[in-house]
Amino acid sequence: MTTTTDDQHSSLQWSPLLSSPFSSLYAKRLLRLVEKVTNGTVIEISLTGTAILVKPGIISGGPVTHDCPLSRSIGYFLEPIIMLAPFSKKPFSLTLRGITTDDKDLSVDLIRTVTLPHLEPFGISDGLELKIKKRGSPPLGGGEVLFLCPIVKKVKTLNFIEPGKIKRIRGIAHAVRVSPQFSNRMIEAARSVLNRYIPDIYLYSDVYKGEEGGKSPGYALSLVAETTTAALHCAEAVSRPGVAPEDISLEATRSLLSEIERGGCVDQKHQTLVLLMMALGSEDVGRCRMAEPTERTVQFLRDVRDTFGTSFKIVPADKLGESPHLLYSCYGTGYINTNRTLA
């Protein structure tokens, strides 16, 4: 995952990898996708899958279609692409086919309702869209999404230190190739917990039928809580065999509560995205208040330091140490989208 973000700057040498992620099919497919959306990129994986040669090209974007393997969901492929897309030559119009929701990566629902809004404070909003054309559950998938992303010259500097209070909760309960009643059952269970907090709760029941429903049965509940300062927290739970939809719903609801308790201005799953955009901002100080970094974030911060030469200052959000939040601040690298064509 990290190598793709390094793509813009990595040098021309075989770099050994820790474990061998490129022996797996999905990682190779991801690199192929990166090759597709760029011009002049050369990616070679050694026979053993333990070393990789990257000659970075430029991000070209444009209309691209890609079939994702069934071992990982579309979220795995979309996440790095979202990081690259605003800096391409032409606006992205990427069609991905495969599994739309699984238990490892962000589902397309969360990407649409949470990940994309996270780009708005950076000035990437007009024409940013994810259309879910078909849903596809594991193991057979059959989903299809269309990702549209505008291009920007540079990203705005973030200064987001007021977490605010939760003002509304939204959710999508979807069910494909199972009884539509499942989604209603999930909604009811979620409401039983959430109703005590605020009245502004809308949980949509989203049932795809026929061709649009993909090839396998499945259902899931994704929840989003929005604060007064437009900070988003999200959680999700996906159907497992032998588990009642109520239990899935409670699992999603409770992990949302955990997420809310953790607090901060940025959801834990989106720390890396926000931190990357902060590092790419203009040469000013950007600040963001977040919960503690996850393991991914720690690795990501190290990678950012290695590629962009920027390190973050991470201090407790308030001097007295009352809140568990941390304040991440960095001096942007002043990255300008040089791929963009002038006139």
Binding site: M1, Q8, L18, S19, N39, G40, G57, G75, Y76, K89, D103, K104, D105, L106, T157, K165, I166, Y197, P199, A237, R254, S255, L257, S258, I260, E261, G263, K269, S282, E283, D284, V285, R287, P293, R296, V298, Q299, R302, G309, T310, S311, F312, K313, I314, V315, P316, L320, G321, E322, S323, P324, L326, S329, Y331, T333, G334, T338, R340, L342, A343
Partner: protein, 1140 residues
């Protein structure tokens, strides 16, 4: 009084007139007033520019670079000397390289003289903030001046002040006035209407008159600078010092050909310079920075303190920093100032008493080789009779020692010595500390032991003893033992230490320091110690994230869950040492967590706790429906209980509770009051906003943008204000305005061999994108003063970004927005596109192009200017390819065509392609035919003729050549010229070749045989069958005379008369016409004569002008020659003395 008087007066008219007195420019009607107001508003708007962020810090800005540019002999050095004298009261003998002076409380100036070389002019144009453009008033503008102005224009156009000199050479005041006027007019046309132009009259005592210089300096001091976009995005410095650090031994061994390690010094400008940035030195190439060291400001601003200490003695009035010019023999080094006192032990100084000791010291300076070397060569015989001279075997140990020391860390010998010095006290103090610490604690001393060593040794401490300080070391980051050492380190700057958020660590350090110094006190003051240790525990619990993430080797999992992994890691390392060939680098589980966005295991989330009502209630305050901020304490109380109930995990919570308890007793009321105050203030502000006019609070776009910029800059300043310098450098880089020393490695040896301080040495930081190579598309326009058109695939030298390089462009034009079509030559008076291969630059970067950079070219050297549009890894430029064929069999709409392709395979490639005949009939390629090779079947919209040619119009993609050749002008000695790839024509001329001639391409007179059309013959049978109207009506010409032809006609007498009258009238008319024509001809003749006369006069004038020009050129040449002999200056001086 006057009122009284007027009231007594009867003439009311007079009073009314007074009231109506008009001011000169006041509007006389409402409409006019409105129009004037609108005009003023519009003018105000034109004055506004897009607000740009100025990255130059306000507190300590870098010196303003004032470049003095002009043709040789115009008085540049004299001007620098005069200006330096004005600011520092010191006279420089020769000014080489940049000269920095303090010009005011908040401004420093760096003067730099630009020599007449085009390379220097380009480099100077890229860094100068203000250009003093010197023009010889007695001679006028020269080509170089215009060239320089055009270079300035494409690289951002800094401020320009014109300076006219040599005005004393013009004797007649009328001529002087006229000259000034004409030069000013030209100058204004070039810069802008009203650009400042100074006049400097003659030279007094080798300087310009003080009053005029004072005037000029005032103008310089009030000058405001708008940030230039390119410089605002790059960090750069103008080197004012250059040192070669390569060990002498290494140079000697490689005969001076080894790559060098050099240091350059200068003030940083532009944006922050980050570690790891690559730099480009124009004229040398891309280089990596080995080390950035922050140095003390050699030319600091006056402070209140320094002003107090200032002596009245004028020599010490203000500083001048000009290391290359050798001001008063002062040299600045990394951390020392060298005073070169000439006349003591310098060689070749006859004033020194030549005693034995002095002689020896001077002789030693002349020794070029080591003693060992000399001994190996010497032939000493022990006894007169011995046949063999003494020889010395290879003596490896000392020389190797020297070598290893020299190569040790790539620094110079001096640095090595420093290192040793640094090490020595370190090891000594180690011992000391051990003694001291014995009473303190066992592990502490061990830890300090580690500190004393170099970074290479990894810390091997166990996990349970982790304190923040120790984590620092584990990361291989050096910490000095004491504060004083830390200070030294800062000076040396070789080591960075990262210490995150000041508070915690500073506390800790001072803590331990205190203990170091006064052990008994610590013992006595147990209570304080206890509370301190309590604090320490607390701080321990709160992780120091910055350190953990950036300067520890812990894996992400260990960082986040700060427990068991460390021990495992420890084992790991030991394993590494034992057997580092086969090691399992990381577990798969680790990689998987990093790979998945969501937590894989829902059980790990501790979701069970949300089953209880209390847990659910505990987060009510996070919703808008929950309790307010003021009662957070209350809810936290509940929180407390919850934490106790399920004390499963939350260490942090317990912490925060501690925190709350701690300050509660001391200042419970204060925060409440403060909160109330802030609330009140917010309410008041809200009320004010609503009560006052809401419109007034609104600002226009310009003011808003400016406010946003200044707010962001205030935040920038505040965020890192309390962080120490080295950490700050790590996070945000080195700020502009600081004086730094850059150590550059693997620099070509020619750079230091041919180093010439008169050529500017610019170190430009590169953005990551600029290190890459690719195809660049630019919009280009040939300069209208350049005499030749530019040709595709001819090499062109570009000055783009920091770089100067030669490349091979392909020119193209957009063809109906469908394709980019190649052009052979650049169009006249029009922009076109060009694509070339080279280092990429961000779009919107300006550039200028040259055919050659050599001096002495007669014509204007700037060939073209333009701007970067696009960068890519491939290009799509096409040129037209027309394939022709001939029909060999024609059916109705189908035709068989041959001679277009040579094989069926080629035809297959072009199936479906559009065809066209010369006569305009359109068609399509269908399928290859088996028989003549390459023949195919084609269909057309009409029947083609056998005589028709058939075209296939295709587009052939061409790629620019991958040619990039940097102009390495600084690697050449001062006199020589850089030569790159030559133009085609140049090569041919030099080799005496003519352009290749293809007989097919030659233009010949076209011979077209006249086309014979056969007469239309309608068969008689058919004719007979036709209706009359369609029958061809063929009649034979009449052969017999007609009736009228046979008879004579006689006129009647009246008819005769009428005829005569008619004839007379015709005769008269003819005559009149004749006469008129004659008259006209006369007039034409006169006109012709007049024109001839005019022509003659004009040519005379032209000849005169030519003569004048040649005379001036002659004067210039003569002056040049004189200058070379060094006569002219003296002469002029004498002249002025006579005048004075």
């Amino acid at each position: 009084m006057s009122d009284d008087k007027s009231s007594t007066q009867k003439h009311k008219v007079h009073r009314r007139k007074k009231a109506e007195k008009k001011s000169a420019f006041a509007p006389r009607s409402g409409r006019r007033a409105e129009r004037q107001g609108r005009r003023a508003a519009e003018r105000d708007q034109t004055r506004l520019h897009v607000p740009l962020v100025d990255r130059t810090p306000d507190d300590i800005p870098p010196p303003v670079i004032v470049a003095i540019v002009g043709p040789p002999g115009v008085g540049k050095s004299t001007l620098i000397k005069s200006l330096v004298r004005r600011y520092t009261k010191q006279t420089l003998n020769d000014t080489r390289g940049p000269v920095t002076v303090v010009s005011g409380k908040k401004r420093r100036l760096t003067f730099i003289e630009c020599n007449n070389d085009l390379n220097s002019m380009i480099d100077i144009a890229k860094v100068a903030d203000l250009v003093l453009l010197m023009i010889d008033g007695s001679f006028g503008f020269e080509m170089e001046t215009f060239e320089f102005l055009n270079i300035l224009q494409v690289h951002g156009f800094p401020k320009v002040i014109g300076i006219l000199t040599h005005l004393d050479l013009i004797k007649k005041s009328a001529t002087l006035r006229a000259t000034k006027k004409s030069l000013k007019k030209r100058f204004w046309a070039e810069i802008y209407q009203g650009a400042k132009l100074f006049y400097l009259s003659g030279v007094l005592n080798g300087r310009y008159p003080d009053s005029e210089i004072l005037n000029l300096s005032r103008f310089i001091s009030v000058m405001k600078f708008r940030p230039l976009i390119f410089r605002n995005a790059h960090s750069y410095l103008l080197a004012d010092r250059f040192e070669d650090l390569t060990p002498r031994e290494q140079i000697r061994l490689s005969k001076g050909k080894c790559d060098r390690t050099v240091t350059v010094y200068g003030y940083l400008r532009g944006t922050n310079l980050r570690e790891g940035t690559k730099v480009h030195i124009p004229g040398v190439g891309d280089l990596g920075i080995n080390l950035i060291t922050l140095l003390g400001d050699p030319c600091p601003f006056p402070t209140a303190d320094s002003e107090k200490r200032r002596k009245l003695s004028e020599k010490k009035r203000l500083l001048v920093h000009a290391p290359m010019s050798d001001v008063g023999g002062v040299m600045y080094d990394k951390d020392a100032v060298w005073v070169n006192v000439p006349g003591s032990f310098t060689r070749g100084n006859p004033d020194v008493p030549q005693g034995e000791g002095e002689q020896m010291v001077m002789d030693l300076q002349g020794v070029n080789e080591t003693l060992e070397h000399a001994v190996t060569r010497s032939q000493i015989r022990l006894l007169d009779s011995s046949s063999k001279s003494l020889s010395i075997g290879p003596h490896p140990s000392p020389s190797r020692h020297v070598l290893s020391r020299a190569r040790g860390d790539g620094e110079g010998q001096r640095d090595n010595e420093e290192d040793e010095q640094e090490e020595d006290p370190g090891s000594a103090s180690d011992g000391d500390f051990d003694d001291d610490e014995l009473s303190y604690s066992e592990d502490e001393s061990a830890e300090l032991d580690i500190t004393g060593r170099s970074t290479l040794r990894a810390g091997h401490h166990s996990a349970d003893k982790l304190t923040p300080t120790r984590e620092h070391e584990g990361a291989g980051i050096q910490y000095a033992e004491s504060d004083s050492d830390l200070g030294d380190d800062g000076g040396g700057g070789a080591r960075m230490h990262f210490d995150s958020d000041g508070g915690n660590d500073i506390d800790l350090q001072s803590d331990t320091d205190g203990r170091d110094e006064e052990v008994p006190k610590w013992k006595s003051n147990l209570l304080n110690q206890a509370s301190a240790s309590f604090k320490l525990v607390r701080q321990n619990k709160r992780k120091d994230w910055t350190t953990l993430i950036y300067s520890s080797s812990l894996s992400p999992r260990e960082v986040v869950r700060d427990e068991p992994g460390t021990a495992r890691n420890e084992d790991h390392k030991e394993n590494d040492q034992v057997d580092d060939f086969f090691t399992l680098k990381a577990t798969d589980a680790d990689a998987d967590t990093l790979d998945a966005t969501k937590e894989m295991n829902p059980l790990a989330l501790h979701l069970g706790k949300w089953e209880g009502e209390e847990a659910l209630d505990s987060i009510r305050h996070l919703f808008i429906t929950g309790v307010n901020d003021t009662s957070v304490a209350g809810s936290a109380g509940e929180h407390d209980g919850v934490a106790d109930d399920n004390a499963s995990d939350e260490d942090e919570k317990a912490d925060s509770d501690y925190d709350e308890e701690f300050p509660k007793g001391a200042d419970d009321s204060d925060p409440r009051a403060a909160i109330l105050m802030t609330k009140k203030e917010a309410l008041k502000r809200k009320f004010d906003e609503q009560y006052d006019d809401p419109e007034s609070a609104k600002q226009d776009f310009y003011a808003e943008a400016k406010e946003a910029i200044s707010a962001q800059q205030a935040l920038n300043r505040a965020e890192f204000a309390d962080v120490d310098a080295t950490t700050r450098a790590l996070v945000e880089g080195y700020r502009p305005g600081s004086y730094v020393r850059l150590e550059l490695t693997s620099v070509p040896c020619e750079m230091s061999e041919h180093f010439d301080p008169t050529r500017p040495l610019v170190v430009g930081g590169l953005l990551p994108i600029e290190e890459q190579f690719g195809f660049v598309q630019v919009r280009i326009k040939r300069h209208r003063w350049h005499t030749r058109t530019l040709k595709t695939n001819d090499p062109l030298i570009l000055s783009l970004g920091w770089r100067r390089f030669q490349t091979v462009p392909i020119y193209s034009l957009d063809d109906h927005s469908i394709r980019m079509r190649m052009l052979k030559y650049t169009p006249e008076h029009m922009h076109c596109y060009a694509n070339f291969y080279g280092p990429v630059s961000a779009p919107n970067t300006g550039f200028c192009a040259f055919n050659s950079l050599e001096d002495g070219a007669a014509a204007f050297r700037i060939a073209a200017t333009g701007v970067v549009l696009d960068i890519d890894r491939s290009v799509n430029i096409v040129k037209k390819l027309k394939l022709t064929g001939v029909p060999y069999k024609i059916f109705k709409n189908t035709t068989f065509v041959k001679d277009m392709f040579s094989s069926a395979l080629e035809v297959a490639k072009f199936e479906g392609a559009n065809l066209r005949t010369v006569s305009g009939i359109r068609g399509q390629v269908k399928k290859a035919l088996p028989k003549p090779d390459g023949a195919f079947r084609a269909t057309f919209e009409d029947k083609v003729l056998m005589s028709d040619l058939i075209f296939l119009r295709a587009w052939y993609t061409i790629q620019p050549r991958k040619f990039y050749n940097p102009v390495t002008s600084l690697l050449l000695s001062s006199g020589s010229h850089w030569t790159g790839m030559r133009l085609n024509g140049q090569v041919r001329r030099e080799q005496g070749l003519s352009a290749p001639h293809q007989p097919d391409s030659a233009y010949k007179s076209i011979e077209r045989p006249g086309r014979r059309f056969n007469a239309l013959k309608v068969p008689r049978k058919l004719q007979a069958a036709l209706p009359y109207a369609s029958k061809p009506k063929l009649m034979k010409p009449q052969k017999k005379a007609t009736y009228l032809q046979k008879r004579a006609v006689l006129l009647e007498p009246e008819e005769k008369k009428a005829l005569v009258v008619m004839q007379q009238m015709h005769a008269l008319r003819k005559d009149a016409i004749m006469r008129r024509r004659e008259k006209k001809q006369e007039g034409a003749e006169i006109r012709k004569k007049r024109l001839e006369k005019d022509e003659h006069r004009k040519s005379e004038k032209k000849r005169e002008e030519r003569k004048d020009h040649m005379r001036v050129a002659g004067i210039k040449n003569k002056r040049k020659a004189e200058r070379e002999e060094g006569i002219s200056r003296k002469k002029r001086k004498n002249l002025h003395q006579v005048i004075a």
